[in-house]
């Protein structure tokens, strides 16, 4: 199973070699490994926290946690790092007062304007992003892995340690919940009229 559909530059054998070297505290291997999974983890975290700064801080913390406990790593590397990232997000929400949505909307819109997107699309995307954050943790995890990271259902099942059927069920419930959210309903209606 190829678990790296989002990142094609490292095959399974190369990853295994890097991991073996990293377990011997090889600083080059640790650095290369960190660069390799940084973007993946960043994207995974980005849609589950309020600000870019939070996403960057948490990704950095995940990297440190990975490096600290790399010698204890067993089984699938990606499942392991996503589990760490998921736990870090949970801890983040436990220990910090969540900033108000209004504040985060402002920040995110500014960031996206910088990226050169249209204003109406930006508002839609921002609504969607807020709706995503109202889902349960496991629903957020499945949606981000599926539609942001680009994994298929079997791969997600392997990463989150659930059956394929369970992942399909979570996916269905997550999409239904998103549709049922009032602002999302409006968003879809508007899209139909257009």
């Amino acid at each position: 199973m190829n678990l790296k559909s989002g990142n094609k530059d490292l095959d399974d054998e190369e990853l295994l070699q890097l991991l073996n070297r990293a377990k011997f505290n090889d600083s080059r291997a640790l650095g290369k490994l960190c660069v390799h999974f940084y973007s993946k983890i960043y994207r995974f975290i980005y849609y589950r926290v309020n600000t870019v700064e939070d996403a960057e801080d948490l990704t950095s913390e995940v990297c440190l946690r990975v490096i600290k406990s790399i010698h204890e790593q067993k089984g699938s590397f990606y499942a392991w790092i996503f589990r760490i990232a998921s736990n870090m997000i949970t801890d983040h929400y436990r220990r910090r007062v969540v900033r108000s949505n209004v504040e985060s909307v402002g920040e995110s819109i500014e960031e996206m304007v910088d990226a050169g997107s249209k204003q109406s699309e930006l508002i839609e995307q921002q609504n969607l992003r807020q709706a995503l954050r109202r889902l349960t943790e496991e629903q957020q995890e499945v949606i981000v892995l599926k539609f942001i990271e680009g994994y298929d259902t079997d791969e997600i099942a392997h990463l989150v340690g659930k059956s394929t059927g369970a992942v399909r069920a979570i996916q269905f419930r997550a999409l239904t919940a998103l549709r049922n959210m009032s602002d999302m309903e409006k968003f879809i209606e508007k899209d139909r009229k257009i």
């Binding site: 960190c34 973007s39 950095s60 010698h71 999409l175 998103l178 549709r179």
Partner: protein
Amino acid sequence: MERDIELLLDNCINEMRNRKSVDESIAEHPQYAGQLQPLLRLVQKIETLPQPEPTPEAISGTLINLGHHIAQYSMTFEKPTAVVKMRKKSSVFNIIRRPKIAWAFNAAFLFLVVLFSAATISANSVPGDFLYPLKLATEKIKFMLTFNSEKKAELRLTFSDKRLQEMIAVFQQSGKLDTTLLKEMLDEAKLALEETKIPTDTASVFVTKLRHVNAYQKDVLEKIRPQVVSSNRKIVDEAINMCDSRSRWMRRMMNEENEISPDSSEPGSMDSPQRTPRSKQKSDRRQWGPECDWMR
């Protein structure tokens, strides 16, 4: 029903990834179109969300932090090495756990136990016994594995004593004198002296010990002499004479040593007329006691 819709939704999402439109995907399942369509349109919207990329500054900042951490980790915390060592150990145990290797280990262990038991039992064997060759082999191996000359001399003395005990045991059992054992007894005692380096304190102690053994051997031979058949009595007499002459030689040598030792540290003592040159002592030692015809 719910399972079906979950599976259908997943299949439709996969078809959309293969460049099918929402309408094309749900066309095959018209009965679920009402449920699937809004969900698939939502999926389309989610997939248009931007793929955020971290800034190079964020990555480099993390790498710098990691560099500090790795440096501290390497200097203060040796856990990875310990873990590797533990894994290596466990891998050795894993090898032993393999059936063939475990069988070989068990067989080797059993062989060693049998060999050790046989060697222990053979210690009391005498010529003609089944285990006597094993006793001689054990003695040879023991001697070959001994590298210290003093310990070698001690072993020779032990072997000489063992030959005497064997000779007595054979004589008590059969009433016959085993001349081969007698010859070996005398040979081992001679070789024991040749192994020692004279003069040293321990060598002097050893020569005294050898003298006692020699005297004991002479006593034993004198005691069994009347019971030996007349044809062998001459051999016993010669052996007794040899023990006697050896005893005299050793007594003389010890006296000379005692005379040399107090002056050896004084300047000019080399010119002492009483001193026997060491090279001379060595040559004498090699010829201690006359060899008999039956020993050749």
